[in-house]
Assembly symmetry: C2
Amino acid sequence: MDETYENIIEHMRALLAGGTDEALIEFATTLHPADIVDLLEELDDAERSAFFHVIPADVAADIVQELEPADQAELIRLMGAARSSEILKEMDSDDAADLIAELPEAKAETLLDLMNSHGQDVRELLQYDEHSSGGIMATEYVSIQSDWTVEQTLAELRHVAPEAETVYYIYVLDDDEHLVGVLSLRDLVVADLSTRIDAIMNTNVLSVPVEADQEDVAQLFKKYRFLALPVVDKEQRLTGIITADDILDVFEEEATEDMQKIAGTMPLERPYFSTSIKELWGSRIVWLLVLFIAESFTGGIMRQFSDAMQSVIELTFFIPLLIDCGGNAGSQASTVVIRGLAVRDIKLRDVWTVMARELVVGLGLGVVMAGVGFFRAWRVGGSSDIGIIVCLAVLAIVVLSTVIGALLPIIATALKVDPAVMSAPLITTIVDAFGLLIYFSIAKSVLQL
Amino acid sequence: MDETYENIIEHMRALLAGGTDEALIEFATTLHPADIVDLLEELDDAERSAFFHVIPADVAADIVQELEPADQAELIRLMGAARSSEILKEMDSDDAADLIAELPEAKAETLLDLMNSHGQDVRELLQYDEHSSGGIMATEYVSIQSDWTVEQTLAELRHVAPEAETVYYIYVLDDDEHLVGVLSLRDLVVADLSTRIDAIMNTNVLSVPVEADQEDVAQLFKKYRFLALPVVDKEQRLTGIITADDILDVFEEEATEDMQKIAGTMPLERPYFSTSIKELWGSRIVWLLVLFIAESFTGGIMRQFSDAMQSVIELTFFIPLLIDCGGNAGSQASTVVIRGLAVRDIKLRDVWTVMARELVVGLGLGVVMAGVGFFRAWRVGGSSDIGIIVCLAVLAIVVLSTVIGALLPIIATALKVDPAVMSAPLITTIVDAFGLLIYFSIAKSVLQL
């Protein structure tokens, strides 16, 4: 922590302890809300509560929006329902809904009642699945009528700008709230004041349904580089907007989930430190157990070959090596393909091209590894026969693992299952069994056991 | 492919074969550039070349910007230098620089010369590291002087809007191009026309240096929810801007790189199908070999215990199970911690909290796995002694792997090494060796070998 930062915290503490309200408000409004969040971490509960009671509700709302869900819930408890609802009313509807969704039912109901008409908006948002467009949209958009002029629209903007989530797109609605056009603020400022909106609006509006998956919406933002996207209901009426800053969160969230799945844990709902130890345990134990039980069949395979191992004990020396080698090659291929599918580089129809490429890559990897394997095994195992067996097994295992690793995520996609479920540990477990069968079959035939 | 889509392609083909230039241009301008990119995939080289010769250079530029790097290079080859440079001049400088960076040196020089003053801008951008602010910024920003009025600014906007990367932030410079303030278009439209800029501009401007790492810049966008961020040189002169849409690419790119590293492959520079088979092979072989050689030390460990295995061959049956179990627990912990570090949920100072949490989680996982392991091993191994050995080994291995998996990425961060290098396969290899030592030590003491 540097000196300036400590000075700022000291200054804030002094203001809370003995400064005027005006000085504290001045302090709170000159800093960015995201920076105040960092400062709040250094305060105790009483100081934090005092801070949120002094500053205006709209300034408080901007700060609360930046807090982690667990910290938001804690703050609500600290401030009490009356003050909390005042602040919630000033928050963007999407952020308010996310916060309310984290609270116990009774507390949520109390707050929603206190929020009056804002509470009604939030109640509507809470109906949607949190991973859908409806779950990430806000209802604070700017809408106008097509027969307005540019001048009227600018006047409206001056009026609504402080509340709106974005003013950079202005949506044109007909009398029944159907979305009929869109206009960027850029279009607006370059137009003459007397121009009618329907002369300059873009009628070719792309929108997404409220129930669209947030991952698909994120891909639209990426493809078309939007700053915002309107959300419509079944009757094509405008119900909300999604802004690019929400999509940054979606990108990060989806990547995190995929990484966790690839590593064989169930995705965590929240940041690491907001996840309890019990939840961390729960996210890992299921896959560990499933894989443990699946892997325990390798015990049966090993038992079948116990005579071979007993007569040539050197065969056992290479089991960890072969098992890991297959697992590594398989998870390299599966991770690259899973990510390729997620960012839409690889599509279902590419299955044969991917297979052909991975077969060649697998052969290339296998040949090199087999060469190295031959010499290592000859030295450790003490005979060229062992060298040959390990060499052939490594080649077969690397090729097979690479192809299986690439194929399974594509098959999962074809079956409408999330390809990230084809985790590295799962691929490893599958190729282990094949690997052991291949290894011992080669050993028996070379050593004529 | 649905019917409408096929119809559109047919329509485009017909226009290219026998339509007027006007009809083709009309067609190209009504579709979104990103959609035209999809259509171009269906055309052959001659059709593609004809298309880019007919449509206006600025429309072509918007389309070329959306192409994958490999397709851009192919198109440049197809169109020839003269037409290519016309289109490059119309592209945003950041996109033009990315394209030029993909070309062979001689070709790049020819094009840059043909681009005149635009070429000079691009040459400057090419000096920066592609993963730095300079590597992702564009030079097309809107800048004004602090003594202008709102009215003058709006007039300037009308003039420069078509060229600018974004008009949503307007940067205020002094006579020496130092960045002294910023103004959002939102601020501008709600202000009176006669207001002076210095009365409404925000003088507390956050900017990033040209050499800042793009991942740090992305975290700033996430924290402060910016639409754009100015980039300054050492003398605090404005040199470019980074926009939120570029940051979406950074987020995706960084997540992809981390995933690939976690899976033990070197990050691919380009999308899957733009990566040659040789590059795919190269990205995987290094880690496979390093891990193979590291893992081959397990052969030595196994050899030390060959007497034990020879007298109780059942001990070998559980080696794959134990090895994978440790690898799985270790990669679960390491992936969660690596991602937590990347998204700044976990910071270096949290090391002890993380260790304590993971120790408890590891114990919780280990106890359950040990219980299951006891019964599986008793059944497959045929004696309760084997059950006890496997049970104790599983407990120790799971706890150790979880703690090592969580600790190594944090140590890497402390040593300023990318934590994602602590890949799942590397953790697996490390815990394998410990796991075998633990297993055989327990076995020898229980069986009194």
